[in-house]
Amino acid sequence: MAATKLTRSQQIQQTILYPIDWLEERSGIVGGIKYFLFRKVPGDTNWFQTLGAATLTAFIVQALTGTILAMYYKPDPNGAYSSIQHITNDLFAGWLVRGMHRWGASVFIILMFMHMGRVFLFGAYKYPRELNWIIGVLLLTMGLGEGFTGYLLPWDQTSYWATVVGININGTAPFLGPFLAQFLQGGTYINADTLSRFYAIHMLLIPGAIFALIGLHLYLVVRLGVTSPPWSKEAAGKGPITNGKVTTGRRGLSRFGTRGRR
């Protein structure tokens, strides 16, 4: 080690790289990030396939603005409304953070539906990606759950009465309905605990589940790869292969893929 004397620039480089090497040796994270960034995706992926990333971005906006709102919001019936007024009218850029959270929710939900529509039309839910479709549907219901629980928090007339009706609807479900309604309300009717319960569900329970499911969702995307568009001339595996030859006349990747196999 001491045999060769390092130049000054090499020393600097080594000092900078040391923490990275330290981390890599103990966690393998650098290799993981490299694998994530430099994994191959089909050459003809298109703009429709950015909807997933767009949805993720909208969720991150919700998480960040939500965290800021949580620093000022007071989840009790006596303080909730005035804390929202305080956020909207008094705090620096409070209206912007609240507005972004309020409308980011709509954007998040629209993007989830659009992303799902893209996956459906591309047939990207088919083997071997069935599980990721299911996780996606769960994420959609969680997102709608966030919309439902978040709507009550301003504690104004609109949010209060919409939630009363929403809980009543849950309550009409056979067997589980009354229990679900009671769980949501934190009692047998809407009371002071209902608001803090909705708050806990809205900012701890469901977001935790969403984070976990997004992690799984992305893991499966990386593991299984990105689908190419269904009209792709380069899409893999077009047509059945007989004796190692593609029987259909389609050109493209499938021919390259089988080359040299015999």
Binding site: K40, A54, Y81, G123, L144, D156, P174, T188
Partner: protein
Amino acid sequence: MASDRIVERRRVFQQYKADVKERGKPFYPYAMFHDTIMSLVVVAVIIGLAIVWKYSTPGSHTGTEAGWLGKLLDAPADPGTINFVPRPDWYFYFLFYLLRIFKWPETVILGTIGIPTICLVLLLAIPFIDLRAERRLSRRPVAIIASILVVLSMGVLTYKGATAKEALGSELVAKIPSWAASEGFTGNQKAIAGAKLFAVSGCLNCHTYNGVGGAFPGAPNLTAEGAKNKGIAFQIDHLKCPACKTPGSPMPSFQGLGQQNLTALANFLEASKGSKK
């Protein structure tokens, strides 16, 4: 044959992986570039909506009047209000309107729980219903028709929900004079006030009254509740804690309405001696 299909789809996927490895492009920078642009657009749209929301609000942009994107904040919640029309956020309008389609008491549960549950199960089951490997849309007519129908019905339900003038409660309020005439409490102001509460508080989601409302299992028909002569005190206690008075009752408590409203409701129930028609 099924095993042939499984062997074939495994082969196709292996080939896809080999092809992508050989001919694909790296995620960074190509796909990531598009993702980043799209993400910036999303953030810009969200910020834009927040700005429009605030600065289209009339006056000093702080009031409770509605701007282009609706109110910044409504009046404070008041559990005692009886004439408020409940309205969910716009992305629940399709569910909201679905309820209004099912007006017959026996079918309300279809709109509230039945159809949404069926849709969710179908959505989860799509990969197991559609087992073909075919992805080209021109060869998937059922998928095309299904997606057009879903988009159309969601669109129509959302539009109808957005433009619906009255909620369920206000339609029921219109029936109060005929209830009063039929049950014989026309001059009883307390009972009339109670009837209004009864119409807007969701009681008819479960109970039937004078031929309208839901028929939730275990929720009795209240048309002739007063004929049982249980007394106003009993009715108030029951509304506060149904399970205390009727063990095992699935009915939620309505204590949140407040003593005055509960008294009105109890008066209405006791005045409902049964339809005379």
